[in-house]
């Protein structure tokens, strides 16, 4: 009996595994940058070994303090954040977090951002030198920094420059994370593809704002921030579907995913994997629940890979 059960688990587990080009994941569930700390914080709430991959908080060359508060505000079925990419910096990450983090069998993806193309390529080099990082996710789309950031994310040529530089600097899998703040996401996909990205993740938060009518002031210290959570899911799904119509590399869907059903919707739209963001704030083990839900799904319906882009239009 023991054997039989083992076998069926094995089957489920291969049926849950997905491949993003060179990057093989035990399952398609990845925790999104900035919503899962450096991974270790969640050990108290779930088994992080069960994830497909963990993406770190966005890393810069130097540590960053972030924006003045308030940094978050709730909105209908969503939230706006203006953290300002606060992070401990790549060296502290490598020295303090990575040694502990790489003990998990889950793949570690480092999310990186710079203010110049050069900073991106230095980050890529530095992270390629160390053991334990499986891929880099290039954040060209964070709306919360004054320099760089957004302009890379909305101009296909600038985006390609960043990707090309990172591509040259590393042998790791390169995932490029796109901003939703563009008229034509297809053009962005084509551009970062031709610059050599191995996969494309989308979407980052949507630039947004909240105002306190009583004080007549913006709610956020930074005035603007990025909208995330279930409110943006319909926009994210549309963008993944549009991206899938032109993409030749694998896509990773992000935006308001809280359940396994949400994940399946993104996979049907064309994503090979998904990222769980805001949902982890509400339920720290949300990502693990999505994995369990997908496990149930493949037990009944077979290989998850058959679902990728299987939307009947």
């Amino acid at each position: 009996m023991g054997k039989v059960i083992k076998k069926s688990t094995k089957k489920t587990s291969t049926q849950l595994s997905v491949r993003l080009g060179t990057l093989e994941l035990a399952n398609p569930v990845i925790t999104a940058s900035g919503t899962f700390g450096y991974g270790l914080e969640f050990k108290a709430y779930m088994n992080i070994d069960n994830l497909g991959a963990i993406i770190t908080k966005g890393l810069s060359l130097k540590p960053r303090k972030g924006n003045p508060g308030p940094r978050i505000v709730e909105t209908p079925s969503g939230m706006i954040n203006a953290i300002g990419l606060a992070n401990i910096g790549v060296e502290a990450f490598i020295n303090e977090k990575l040694p502990l983090l790489k003990k998990t069998k889950t793949k570690i993806i480092a999310n990186i951002f710079g203010e110049t193309v050069r900073e991106y390529s230095e980050l890529a080099k530095r992270l390629s030198d160390v053991e334990g990082v499986s891929a880099l996710e290039i954040n060209i789309s964070c709306p919360n920094v004054k320099k760089g950031g957004m302009s890379f994310g909305t101009d296909p040529k600038e985006a390609a420059r960043v990707v090309r530089a990172v591509r040259k600097a590393t042998r790791l899998h390169v995932m490029t994370k796109l901003s939703p703040n563009v008229s034509d996401i297809k053009q962005m996909v084509r551009s970062v593809e031709s610059a050599g990205t191995d996969s494309v993740s989308l979407i980052n938060t949507i630039p947004a704002m909240a105002i306190n009518a009583e004080t007549k002031r913006p709610v956020l210290g930074n005035v603007m921030g990025g909208l995330s959570g279930p409110a943006i899911k319909p926009v994210a799904l549309r963008m993944v579907y549009e991206a899938a119509s032109v993409a030749t590399v694998p896509l990773v869907g992000i935006g308001g995913i809280t359940t396994a059903v949400d994940a399946i919707e993104f996979i049907l739209a064309g994503a090979s994997a998904v990222q769980i963001g805001t949902a982890s704030f509400i339920t720290p083990s949300a990502s693990e629940s999505v994995v369990s839900g997908l496990k149930e799904y493949v037990k009944k319906n077979g290989d998850i890979k058959k679902l990728i882009g299987a939307l009947k239009v």
Partner: protein, 263 residues
């Protein structure tokens, strides 16, 4: 953790409620810690989306109690909870009030609903209890009733009301001033203005002061970095930190660690 409502009853006024929940977590909350409460069930509603933070008012074997004031959407929803309803609670979270030393004279300063964490703290006080005093600033004498449970524990309670309808009229901090002694230690919780004034008072008097702070929170567990407040110059220099996280490094801070001018 999915928790069952034991009761949810209004206390003192019709906007203040005491919510008692079953508690099966191994960790028992300590004074000053808080929990994050899911006010809506995600299978039926995704709005409000985020959990709401509440200090632990009291805790016993298998239960905890929260004292809350209805101010907006989340607390309105909470006020409709009934015995037997389920509610998802995350915690206990954050750091507790440091245990006061025997020799210290404890001065608790609470403004409005800021009284919440002081009940559990008062309960844990032992010999020092006779020397502890709670200064409670309330809007009116009706609100002032919130201090009754603490009074029952044998703590001296000195009330100030904004409208002068009970006790001293005016700000609670004015009342504290005359009371500070050399070995006093102040624990404060309440509106930002009050905390700021209390911190200044403590600084001027050269006594130790701990404050329990609030900030907008998404995660409550130190990962979203959303609840950051500016750290004092002192912290900045000694620890190379520009911000402190209210949820994981607080909510209780030494008042010297906070940059009050930026609040």
């Amino acid at each position: 953790m999915n928790s069952t409502v034991i009761y949810n009853k209004s206390i003192a006024t019709d906007v203040h409620f005491l919510l008692r929940l079953k508690w099966s977590e191994k960790k028992i909350p300590t004074p000053g810690q808080f929990v994050m409460v899911s006010v809506s069930d995600a299978s039926t509603s995704l709005d409000p989306l985020l959990r709401r933070p509440f200090s632990v008012f009291d805790a016993g074997k298998g239960w905890i109690e929260l004292l809350y004031r209805v101010v907006g959407r989340g607390t309105s929803l909470m006020s409709t909870l009934k015995k037997g309803d389920k509610v998802d609670v995350l915690g206990p979270l954050g750091k507790k009030f440091p245990t006061p030393k025997e020799k210290n004279k404890l001065i608790m300063v609470a403004g409005g609903i800021g009284i919440a964490p002081f009940y559990l703290l008062s309960k844990t006080l032992k010999n020092s209890k006779k020397d502890a005093v709670l200064f409670f600033g309330a809007r009116t004498k009706v609100d002032a009733r919130l201090s009754a449970p603490i009074k029952k524990l044998g703590i001296k309670v000195k009330v100030s009301t904004e409208d002068g309808s009970l006790g001293r009229a005016g700000y609670v901090t004015d009342a504290v001033l005359d009371f500070i002694e050399k070995d006093s230690v102040i624990y404060a919780c309440g509106p930002m203005g009050m905390l700021k004034a209390t911190a200044k008072l403590a600084k001027d008097a050269g006594v130790l002061c701990y404050v329990s702070l609030e900030s907008s929170m998404a995660c409550g567990i130190g990962v979203c970095l959303g609840c950051a407040l500016k750290a004092s110059e002192d912290v900045k220099k000694t620890k190379d930190k520009e911000y402190v996280l209210v949820c994981s490094e607080g909510p209780v801070f030494n008042s010297k660690d906070i940059e009050w001018e930026k609040l």
